[in-house]
């Protein structure tokens, strides 16, 4: 089965059990094309497992992941959290992006105007054309990330996954990357899913949020999901949501079943 139309991804009641532990518990959501969604949760909430299931690296115990059926190119673009680019490597950003287009094909590439045009177009779209002819390993972290986003997008996927793309960026760079991804989602008609343990940098730009806690998920807009009643149900004990100056704080509330050693202030502003 596959998806058509305006859906980038459908996750249907996915349950994953690893070593007898339920890592994901009937997670279901849908990502419309052209939207930016945050996959929010603390360490161990199941973010990485869910990413691996979507990428096809892990089969769910129950449930299914549906991706658009796109002839001729990959439907999923992926930007890993950790990557190491050798500074002395004789490879430009432009070369790496071109490999995103046809790096899986055999044979020596012949000069191709269409290929060059598409690479230049996507480099412009992510604002990396000025550094595209440098050795990619010598670019800054933010510049390398733009190149990797272009690498993932160049084959026109319908879904773009980014694993903790903001983890090693300062606040300003993080905002730039989020703005870029929101623009890319609209312009390229791609569903963008960003995993993060901190949602505040994403709040101004994200259309929807998938909040993961202990393998369970709540999905919707930030207003619908980041609420005390919804998150309390998700965590299984009372949780308070405090909004201060456009930022959101999720903390464990005073309750009998909230363990004192188990605080839920994921949102960084503590």
């Amino acid at each position: 089965m596959s998806l058509g139309g305006d859906v980038g991804l459908r996750v249907q009641d996915v349950t994953v059990e690893l070593g007898g532990r339920r890592v994901l518990d009937e997670v279901r959501f849908e990502l419309p094309a052209g939207t930016l969604t945050g996959l929010i949760g603390s360490n161990g909430a199941g973010k990485t497992t869910l990413m691996r299931v979507i990428l096809g690296q892990l089969s769910p115990t129950r449930g299914a992941v549906l991706l658009p059926d796109v002839a001729g190119h990959r439907a999923v673009g992926y930007v890993p959290q950790k990557f190491l680019l050798d500074p002395d490597m004789p490879v430009r950003g432009r070369d790496l992006v071109a490999l995103g287009l046809d790096g899986h094909r055999l044979g020596f590439p012949l000069p191709n105007r269409e290929r060059r045009r598409r690479v230049a177009e996507i480099l412009r779209a992510v604002g990396a054309e000025a550094v595209a002819d440098e050795r990619v390993g010598r670019l800054s972290g933010g510049e390398q990330q733009r190149i990797l986003i272009a690498h993932a997008l160049v084959s026109r996927p319908r879904l773009l996954l980014l694993d903790e793309p903001l983890a090693n960026l300062d606040l300003r760079s993080a905002r730039e990357v989020v703005d870029l991804l929101a623009r890319v989602a609209r312009e390229q008609r791609v569903a963008v899913l960003i995993s993060a343990h901190e949602m505040n940098a994403l709040l101004p730009a994200m259309d929807r949020v998938i909040y993961l806690a202990d393998g369970r998920a709540a999905c919707g807009t930030a207003e619908e999901v980041v609420r005390p009643d919804v998150l309390s149900r998700l965590y299984g004990h009372r949780v308070e949501v405090i909004r201060v100056g456009g930022r959101v704080l999720v903390i464990a509330g005073d309750s009998d079943d909230a363990e004192p050693s188990h605080p839920h202030h994921h949102d960084g502003a503590f």
Partner: protein, 274 residues
């Protein structure tokens, strides 16, 4: 020096340089210099074994080089690459020690295996070397894009595909080893499999240019070494080794000031604004 058996030496040397320079591009890109040392060194055991049982040296070299490639891929699967490589190397070297001690071969032929003997390359080795060259270059051209991606951004190529590409690369090194060892010897293979590519990537910033420059550098090293070995009657290994190291050092010294230079600043700030 262009008469008698010498033309054969030039032809074989040229083929070795082209293959070494080309495969070397990936050896350096993947940081696989240790594997590129271990496979040729391990294949020495195969040559010694072939002499012992009386079959072609090239066959023994090839068999053990391929065994080495599988050994490294198998032993370092899900583990540390350097440990797996070292383990494969000592296993093969141990066998080599046994074969040499059992063999009645004079020490001079062992010496030739270790340090190469391009000037003694015979007409009979011309055809197999040419065939191996063709196979190596065809395989390299076929695997160019997947191998380039898997080497430059290993995080983008995972699972079975990464394992297959790694094995394919090691087998390419094994093929290159089989044809290179008789010429420059097992211990000095570095000079064609690592030094030209390492030199090239200091000077050239794109994959295509680095590959071409690597082949050109390897040709320059092997041709100069062949001529010098003929003129001085010193071993060719001495010349390929020292010329390779000299080329690498010269390229490093020649490019190091540019690295700290300010030419990058302009483009960096313009990117930050976009």
């Amino acid at each position: 020096m262009f008469s008698g058996t010498m033309p054969d030496a030039w032809i074989v040397g040229t083929m070795v340089a082209v293959v070494g320079g080309a495969i070397g591009f990936f050896v350096v890109l993947r940081g696989a210099a240790f594997a590129a040392h271990a496979i040729p060194s391990g294949s020495f055991a195969g040559a010694a074994g072939a002499t012992l049982v009386g079959v072609s040296t090239l066959l023994g070299l090839g068999l053990f080089a391929v065994l080495g490639a599988f050994g490294i891929a198998g032993l370092s699967h899900r583990g540390r690459r350097d440990v797996g490589t070292a383990l494969a190397l000592v296993l093969l070297l141990g066998l080599g020690a046994l074969f040499v001690s059992l063999s009645a071969e004079p020490a001079s032929s062992i010496f030739a295996l270790l340090f190469g003997e391009v000037l003694a390359v015979g007409r009979g080795e011309l055809l197999p070397t040419a065939a191996l060259t063709a196979v190596c270059l065809a395989a390299l051209a076929t695997l160019w894009r997947p191998l380039l991606l898997a080497s430059a951004l290993p995080e983008a190529v995972v699972g079975a595909r990464a394992v297959t590409l790694d094995l394919a690369f090691l087998l390419l090194v094994a093929l290159a080893t089989t044809m290179t060892v008789p010429v420059v010897g097992t211990t000095l293979i570095f000079s064609v499999l690592v030094a030209p590519a390492a030199t090239a990537r200091s000077l050239a910033g794109t994959p295509g240019r680095a590959l071409s420059l690597s082949v050109i550098t390897a040709l320059a090293i092997v041709w100069s070494a062949t001529a010098l070995a003929y003129l001085t009657e010193w071993p060719i290994g001495f010349f390929v080794g020292s010329l390779g190291a000299a080329a690498f050092l010269a390229a490093r010294l020649g490019t190091s000031p540019a690295r700290a230079g300010g030419s990058r600043r302009g483009s960096r700030s313009s990117a930050a604004q976009s």
